[in-house]
């Protein structure tokens, strides 16, 4: 039982970080209807920015955190302006967006390899590694921090989407871009805000990831898992992304706890395929109908 509880806690903590990343995929998908594969690169850069703000600039933890989240927020907007806006203006089909995103992802990953190098970097010890003992269950301080920060961020996001004017505009635009534009919503600004939000959370997720593991250029591949989580929960749905991520996190830790960590990724992709075959709109996604 305590083993089960332990895995559940680990799953919740990793799942909450997946949720931060998955929210970025889902926000973009809800409005632009394509999977933004450059998001993984943004998360990776978030981890690097956090690392350099902490070590080279010596900023205090919280400031470094915010600074790297802001940097990646700006970076995500820059990517949108450079790689997607021209396509948007030409009304290109979704595939061109995906290819462009793949190009951006290759670009981001390799510019890090070319400038910083492919070596692993590990964060300085911010929190002590000694875990908190709760009965028979151990609670890592980093895991706890990851969970709390993610939960706060997600709560802020829900508040933003539900209770601010911009949030309402995002909701309207995700329903119909054309109609919202006709109603006087500046959809271009909405898209910028959506990318900035996604990038902001990507930065936070990147730093959390870097704290827990290490930083290296291929970290973006791990973030594919959060994409699976977004599909699992239903692309384009924020609650879906969160629920999907938490479930995926728990499934993953249970797999490595009870089976073998070799099968962890396999199970994640098998889950992706199963969801697509059985229910492509995911747990809570909007039902996509063919517009002929």
């Amino acid at each position: 039982m305590s083993r089960f509880l332990q895995q559940l806690i680990n799953g919740l903590s990793i799942g909450s970080v997946y949720a931060l990343m998955a929210v970025g995929y889902s926000l973009v998908y809800s409005i632009m209807n394509f999977s933004n594969f450059a998001h993984g690169g943004v998360i990776m850069l978030g981890a690097y920015f956090g690392y350099y703000y902490l070590t080279k600039l010596g900023l205090p933890f919280f400031v470094a955190f915010m600074a790297s989240a802001l940097t990646t927020g700006i970076l995500a907007v820059v990517i949108e302006r450079g790689a997607y806006k021209p396509l948007r203006e030409r009304k290109a089909p979704f595939l061109y967006f995906i290819i462009s995103a793949m190009g951006a992802s290759i670009f981001l990953e390799n510019i890090v390899i070319a400038t910083i190098g492919p070596t692993f970097k590990s964060y300085p010890e911010i929190l002590s590694r000694t875990p908190i003992q709760l009965g028979s269950v151990t609670l890592g301080r980093i895991d706890l921090t990851m969970f709390i920060i993610s939960a706060i961020c997600l709560a802020l996001l829900v508040f933003f989407i539900d209770f601010t004017k911009m949030g309402k505009a995002i909701q309207a635009t995700s329903y119909s871009v054309k109609a919202s534009a006709l109603m006087g919503i500046n959809t271009d600004l909405v898209i910028i805000v959506v990318f900035a939000l996604g990038g902001f959370f990507a930065g936070i997720a990147g730093v959390l990831f870097g704290m827990k593991y290490t930083v290296y250029p291929q970290i973006g591949i791990i973030t594919n898992k959060s994409f699976i989580a977004a599909v699992f929960g239903g692309l384009g749905s924020l609650p879906g992304a969160v629920v999907g991520s938490i479930l995926l996190g728990i499934i993953e830790t249970m797999t490595s706890g009870y089976l073998s960590s070799n099968y962890r990724d396999l199970i994640a992709f098998a889950l992706l395929i199963a969801v697509l075959v059985i229910r492509p709109s995911g747990l809570m996604g909007k039902v996509t109908e063919d517009k002929a």
């Binding site: 009304k91 089909p93 290819i99 190009g103 290759i106 390799n110 510019i111 070319a114 517009k291 002929a292």
Partner: protein, 300 residues
């Protein structure tokens, strides 16, 4: 640069071209996008290597066996996912490609993630060239046949072709199976060229590379795919002196192509003697359009 080096690059381009040709049928002529073709290459490669190494088959039957296995696998995958729309089909193929790689990572019979060395070196310049020429001829004939026209109809307008009596699902499935078979042959050629197989060789990056080549060459153009494979396979080699920066340039150029010339190098035209004249006169009169069905889309 000696002849041997150039030949090596051309062989790599030929191997890439083999799977690009298949993907060209699927993407350029049937209008479906796959991010999992590296998975089919892996199936073809591992099957044909198993045939030559463990069962002592000759090279060509082993290649055909690899193609057959890849096609059968794709039939299974197609049955499950071909009804998915747009983005979701892409994601499903992505999932399958990665799943195949991860399964191979865990199959100890094939060496698992460590890889499988000691595959005989059967691939040479001549057989790559001959196989590619045969593949191009077969593909050109498929496209010109009734079945090929039906596939193009599916690309142009799915609903309308369903109404005039084309079995859309069937033609999508045929297209997927043929393209998987091509990828299977490519995998087999690669296995017997590298003499080493590792699941890592067939990652998402490889699938993306293939799709990028097809789009770079131009959707709906076989000669575009040929040119694309030649240019994009040799480009990283030419840029090799920049070492780490070459993939940065590669990524950047992909974005620039998408933004500036989305119709690709050939943009739906073929490079045959008769079409050259037509192309030339057309280029004078107006800029080439995208093949219909490739523009529009429901984004914004």
């Amino acid at each position: 640069m000696d002849l041997y080096y150039i030949q090596g690059i051309l062989m790599l381009a030929g191997i890439n071209l083999m799977s690009v040709l298949g993907l060209s049928l699927l993407t350029g002529f049937t209008g479906m996008f796959s991010f999992g073709h590296a998975g089919f290459m892996a199936i073809g490669g591992y099957t044909s290597a198993m045939m030559t190494v463990n069962y002592g088959w000759p090279f060509i039957p082993a290649l055909l066996m690899g193609a057959l296995t890849a096609a059968l696998m794709s039939a299974l995958i197609g049955k499950l996912t071909l009804n998915l729309k747009g983005d979701y089909f892409c994601i499903a193929t992505l999932g399958f490609g990665e799943a195949i790689r991860l399964v191979l990572d865990n199959v100890q019979y094939f060496g698992g993630a460590r890889g499988w060395p000691g595959i005989p070196n059967y691939t040479n310049f001549t057989n790559v060239l001959i196989i590619n020429i045969i593949a191009i001829i077969i593909l050109a004939n498929i496209i010109r046949s009734r079945h090929g026209r039906n596939m193009i109809a599916v690309r142009e307008e799915e609903l309308a072709s369903q109404i005039v009596g084309i079995n859309v699902f069937k033609y999508k499935l045929i297209s997927l199976m043929i393209s998987a078979a091509y990828a299977g042959v490519a995998g087999g050629l690669m296995a017997h060229y590298m003499t080493f197989l590792q699941p890592k060789m067939f990652s998402l990056v490889k699938s993306t590379e293939l799709t990028i080549i097809v789009i770079f060459g131009g959707l709906g153009s076989i000669s575009g795919s040929v040119l694309g494979a030649l240019v994009l396979t040799s480009l990283p080699e030419i840029l090799r002196s920049f070492s780490n920066w070459r993939l940065v340039i590669y990524g950047l150029s992909v974005i620039i192509i998408m933004i500036s010339r989305p119709e690709g190098l050939m943009g739906g035209y073929e490079l045959t003697p008769s079409s050259m004249k037509k192309l030339f006169t057309r280029m004078r009169s107006k800029k080439g359009d995208l093949p219909k069905g490739m523009e529009g889309g429901n984004t914004l």
